[in-house]
Symmetry: none
């Protein structure tokens, strides 16, 4: 069985851009290695969730892993918490949280001046108990915090307290999103937590120090994306019986991979794998190839193109795609691997958001029924012989290519 | 209305094979008549069950007939029993069974030396009653037996007693596959039947005679594929109001056709229609054309390509495909019929198993929107204008082509 390397180029596809001569960044970029994979493989298009459904990064990755996000997705929280190695227990409600700044009751900064560390905030609030619910906090990168509410009778069916915008009066009141007593109780507890956190932070010693230093205060915990770890979720290994590793720089994506029980490959700081546009992609790809010795399937997540598109920087996106191309050269030239090349969603550089446009998909390796494409791009792959598939179809197709799919019937 | 002849080439599609210059057997074969059908018709690809789902022959045929196998499929048993003209009643649990050989308690041969007839085994055990359950047996081809358990409160949710491999200690203990008392009871009764059959066969006169002749003993009945006749299954005629015949050499496929109530066309031994690679395909196709006088729709099942691929004999598969091509010439040259040319699944000659790769599909006849393909093959049909459909879509498409589909709405 060939080893499989599955490359997820986050937000790689785009829409045609007038300033690029009506090409997409992928079409405008010089990508001999991506193109070689398409020439040597079979291609098609993929709707991650369904036609016209805009995928989040989390729901898109669940679909890529073969998990129906309509069954298994509740909110972003668990991925954030898992991404920073928090321990989630059944019944926990998990949140993505930020430290922000209130000024005379108005929310003026959602990131408290991109505060370097949230450790003092976490130390003040971690372990707090309200109405039998325990709050567990852990610092994430910069202004970010992983937040878990642990107790009996909680529900993730609640609204965000984070207003998502600044220059508004205070934070949102959390409300129940269904009629259950659990949602009502959880909303009440979270509103209490919100107020208690504001009260405690406003009187905290470190905020007096920040004020003295002329820094904005870190006096509110904003939280959103309530979610749970779903009961009955099979691990990736239980589903596919493949030894699988996930290679990524950004914690959130590692969190999604941990959610389904994958092994996470980590990097030392001097390897320069950051999950940002400056990431050292050669090091990332070479690590993926190296660890494939010990795994059947290695996912590689490459973030930069999405970040640049969300900033509207289509020219930077073109250059980043060429950087991906150079890093992928060893895979394009080797015949040792089954290679999957695709994206988790389209990111429009013009709209600066994820869009639902289908993403190009190429599979190259032993046993594939090749087609006659000339390059890897949105419009070329749409001519490919795979046709258009859904995100959750891809893993079953791969497992079948490997000769490992279960027979239905006899 | 044109008469329709629907040709199912079992296991015809394959994956590219290095020794064939990276062609599939279908691509490597010289097939002017199959190609003419594709040139004159409309083509596409078909996932019998769904993308990445490996179809069994039984589930694939149900899908081809337009029956959702997730609704109507329980196990292989009923098709085996119907294929040899056993009478199935509601509540019966049906099995595919073999006569095998135990040697000092070890299973050494699952086919008792491919024993010529199981008649003595059947005569010894047919009519046996255990705990109110009656066992009905009938000889199939060679070592095969159709086995029915008839009684109150039985369930098909039980595991196989047949270990599927040789050189193991005895047979498997049947276990219930759900928590129902019916499954538990059925498992207990089947384990009793298993042991009683071993005891009776071990002391049977014919086995003493086999031993004296130096033949391996036929002293165990191996059974698997428990299944029922589902309640509420509409017949093919009820579903489509078409007078339909099924032409096949192999009993199992006739069993699937009987399952949905089709008329079965039989052959006399001198017609040479065997369901094996040596089958006389001209006689089979000519019979199909002849009986089409009396039917609206005639299915023709051609088995050989699958058998050869499961033996890894890709060169034999190429030759058999050319044999199919010659037999199909009258259909390719006549404009009198709506012709459907497809397969029930891909069989990889390299992996020697069914795979989930989509199968090529061509429809030729009056009213079809033709396309511009050059031949009938996996990679050419992937460019066809039918796109990619699911197995259960095909019958509705055909019925509509015939102008007989029901209007949804007004």
């Amino acid at each position: 069985m060939q080893k499989t390397i599955f490359i997820i180029c986050d937000g790689l596809p785009d829409r045609p851009i007038a300033a690029l001569g009506n090409k997409t960044p992928l079409e405008a970029a010089h990508t001999p290695n991506l193109d070689k994979l398409a020439v040597d493989g079979i291609s098609g298009m993929m709707n991650l969730i369904g036609p016209g459904v805009r995928p989040g990064s989390d729901t898109a990755h669940l679909a890529l892993f073969g998990y129906d996000p309509y069954v298994y997705y509740s909110g972003r929280g668990p991925f954030e918490c898992l991404g920073i190695d928090m321990d989630i227990q059944p019944g926990d409600v998990c949140f993505r949280a930020n430290v922000g700044t209130l000024d005379n009751g108005r929310l003026v900064d959602r990131r408290a001046g991109r505060i370097e560390s949230t450790l003092p905030v976490v130390e003040l609030l971690n372990g707090l108990e309200i109405d039998g619910v325990k709050f567990i906090l852990k610092p994430g990168l910069s202004h970010r915090i992983g937040l878990i509410a642990r107790g009996q009778g909680l529900s993730y069916k609640i609204s965000d307290q984070d207003p998502h915008v600044v220059d508004v009066e205070g934070v949102n009141t959390v409300v129940a999103l269904d009629d259950s007593p659990e949602a009502k109780f959880t909303a009440e507890v979270m509103n209490k937590f919100s107020q208690i956190a504001i009260d405690k932070l406003s009187q905290a010693q470190f905020n007096y120090e920040r004020k003295a230093q002329g820094l904005v205060l870190a006096n509110v915990v904003l939280f959103r994306g309530a979610g749970i770890f779903p009961t009955g979720l099979p691990t990736f290994t239980e589903k596919y019986h493949l030894k699988t590793a996930f290679v990524a720089g950004a914690p959130f994506y590692r969190g999604i991979a941990k959610f389904v029980g994958m092994d996470i490959i980590s990097f030392s700081p001097d390897e320069g794998v950051t999950g940002l546009p400056d990431s050292n992609l050669e090091n990332k790809l070479n690590k993926a190839i190296a660890v494939s010795q010990d795994y059947d399937l290695v996912f590689v997540h490459i973030k930069g193109a999405d970040t640049l598109a969300e900033d509207g920087n289509y020219q930077g996106k073109v250059e980043f795609i060429e950087k991906i191309d150079r890093a992928i050269k060893p895979l394009a030239e080797s015949q040792d691997f089954l290679v999957v090349l695709t994206a988790d969603h389209t990111t429009s550089s013009k709209l600066k958001i994820h869009t639902a446009d289908p993403v190009p998909l190429t599979i190259r390796g032993e046993g594939v029924r090749t087609d006659d494409l000339n390059n890897y791009s949105e419009r070329e792959c749409a001519k490919g012989r795979l046709g258009t598939i859904q995100g959750i179809n891809l893993m079953p197709i791969l497992v079948d290519l490997m000769g490992l799919a279960k027979l239905f019937g006899a």
